[in-house]
Symmetry: none
Subunit: 202 residues, 4 copies
DNA sequence: GATGAATGAGGTTTCATTCAT
DNA sequence: AATGAATGAAACCTCATTCAT
């Protein structure tokens, strides 16, 4: 019980932090803002987290892990490349729909300060690209992917496209409905390009 | 002369700020850090800029304008889509090579806190996507681009890919030499996709 | 039984507090440090003591009482002045040897913040000097002590010497073995001075 | 001028800190108390000192240096042992009379936390004892001091006596006029003892 | 008795900004 | 223009103490 209650409280604080960070950004958020959002005294936050930085780290670590798990699952599923990429793009886009604040924090606050991530967290972050790279590499072996394609570059482009698209949504640059269209088009464009004609020879 | 000298000093401060922001991030940089970097007294900074925020704004406004100008130039050049995209990708990648700190600040500090940009600056920022969209839209009219492609989405994906690739470089995820390969592959992958076979019917 | 168990627990807390205070100083010690040292929950401490200050007060009151009792005993023993002083110096030095942490706390934490002692505790503290003064006064009456000597000043010097010597030991300024030598020399020097020759006339 | 003004302000802060620490103790003093006492904004204190601890360190270092200089001077003066000891005791007692707050801080706050002194400062502190030891050692060579006396122990006893006497005055245990008497008696008692008769044989 | 989650007063420290020189 | 001393708002964080369980 106690353990559960403590875990619950910790989770409540994390949720509150996500909300607060999404609203005002990490630096614009006071620890007391998080506490207010969570409905607790700010001192209590320090029972669960060493300091404000640790809260952001925890959000990243724990939530990113979920993403990695999903990516790995998708990776291991049977299914062709297109299906997998569809699933991945869909997953991130749906995540944004359901947890827009979380995605906002992950994309804007963590990516934003990614160069200050400690080594361990940076590796954790880059794992997503590694998984993607593996997917592309295997597709290449299977002859699905052109031989001259660099799988790692592809992972950068693929995930970068998703990130930018979500960022655009965060910035209200595009309407909410755009996300549906995105799911379909993103993978298609990515796999088959946007040109009407392939070049004669590469 | 005086005006020129003043403009010079202002520029020196901006350059110093870029360096400082790149090294420690905007929030981690003290006004006095900028002054030290510029070799002046910190009080003097307030003769040239209203406050610290204004410095970041100025960097964004003035440097982004350069980018927009280049984009517009490339846009108006004769040349097919591939050439234009090549030029654009090349331009950003070369910019990073020559002014890595500036790119770092623009990408990490401004792009990622873009939701806090004031209206005017946000429009300024989005202008880049609008220009790209125009390029794609015209290519579509010319039949170069598939009809089902959304030009704005393409602009997101294209610029997003570049941004992510540069971010990866900033994070030292990829070696410096990677940037050369990037220039070529990025546009190819983008235009023609990465799959060996087009789908029978879309 | 209950009373005894309670008294035991109280004593355990006091011992733990002595250890903790000796290690980190009163201000550097958290109530939770004491609890950890005592192997109990920190909340429990407040069942036995009103607050952190009270713990230090209790240490002082209870332990100082022991010292006073010993001083009084020695005072009332038969024996000449030298024997008594020997016993007193020996007692304090042995106390340090056996309970170095306690002596550290008494000397460094209490003695040196003695100006903040509340009236009652201050009187309690000064009692030691009063007892010493009595010893010297009686010796003076008996003609053992020079008439021009101020008994109270002597008590200051005598106890002050011991205190400083122990402090030096606490600070590791002198080796542990020094304490033996101290026992002998201190009283001798004190009683008979250190000069080879007495002045012709005072 | 600027340098002088800065040095002055620094000194003003130190004086204010001495006053504040004497009144409320180091831990009881807020940085803002010092600022109020100095008639400045508390932020300014951090222009001159890294933090609160540094202020106490500075007081110790700079003032203790004065003491050491005086001790060394007295040491090098011509004069017999008694004259020197007289001068030293007189110096400390006069110092207390003229700068009671400084002495209070040096004795109560610094001695009190001496075990937490960093190595360098501890050595600095102990230098006083070393100088005293030298004085006694030379007197011993000259046959002024009994051969069985340990010069270092004597330095402990001598300085310890002074310290305790001043502490007694700080605690209002003895009247102010006592200090005069002290000057005379302390050295006498120390040199020639307090007993009427020397022991037949040691 | 025992626990430790919860509270929030209180202090230190930072640093953007002002302004006298 | 140039300096950097001076200001003080603002935020983080600690930790003594309370109290529900």
């Amino acid at each position: 019980m106690a353990r559960t209650a403590a875990a619950d409280k910790r989770e409540i604080i994390l949720q509150a932090a996500v909300k607060a960070f999404a609203k005002r950004g990490f630096h614009g958020t006071r620890v007391s803002d998080i506490a207010t959002e969570a409905g607790i005294a700010y001192g209590l936050i320090y029972h669960y987290f060493k300091n404000k930085d640790e809260i952001l780290n925890a959000i990243f670590r724990e939530k990113w892990n979920l993403f990695l798990a999903i990516l790995r699952n998708i990776d291991q599923d049977n299914g062709d490349l297109q299906t997998k990429l569809q699933a991945i793009a869909g997953f991130f886009i749906d995540s944004y729909r359901q947890l827009p604040e979380l995605m906002e924090v992950l994309i804007l606050e963590i990516l934003h300060s990614s160069r200050f991530l400690e080594k361990e967290n940076l590796a954790h972050f880059q794992e997503a690209f590694t998984i993607m790279e593996g997917i592309f590499r295997r597709a290449q072996k299977d002859g699905i992917l052109a031989r001259e394609v660099d799988p790692f570059l592809s992972s950068l482009i693929f995930l970068g496209s998703i990130e930018t698209a979500i960022t655009a949504r965060i910035l209200k640059t595009v309407p909410a409905t755009y996300l549906n269209e995105l799911k379909v088009q993103l993978v298609n464009q990515f796999l088959y390009g946007i040109a009407t004609q392939r070049p004669a020879a590469t």
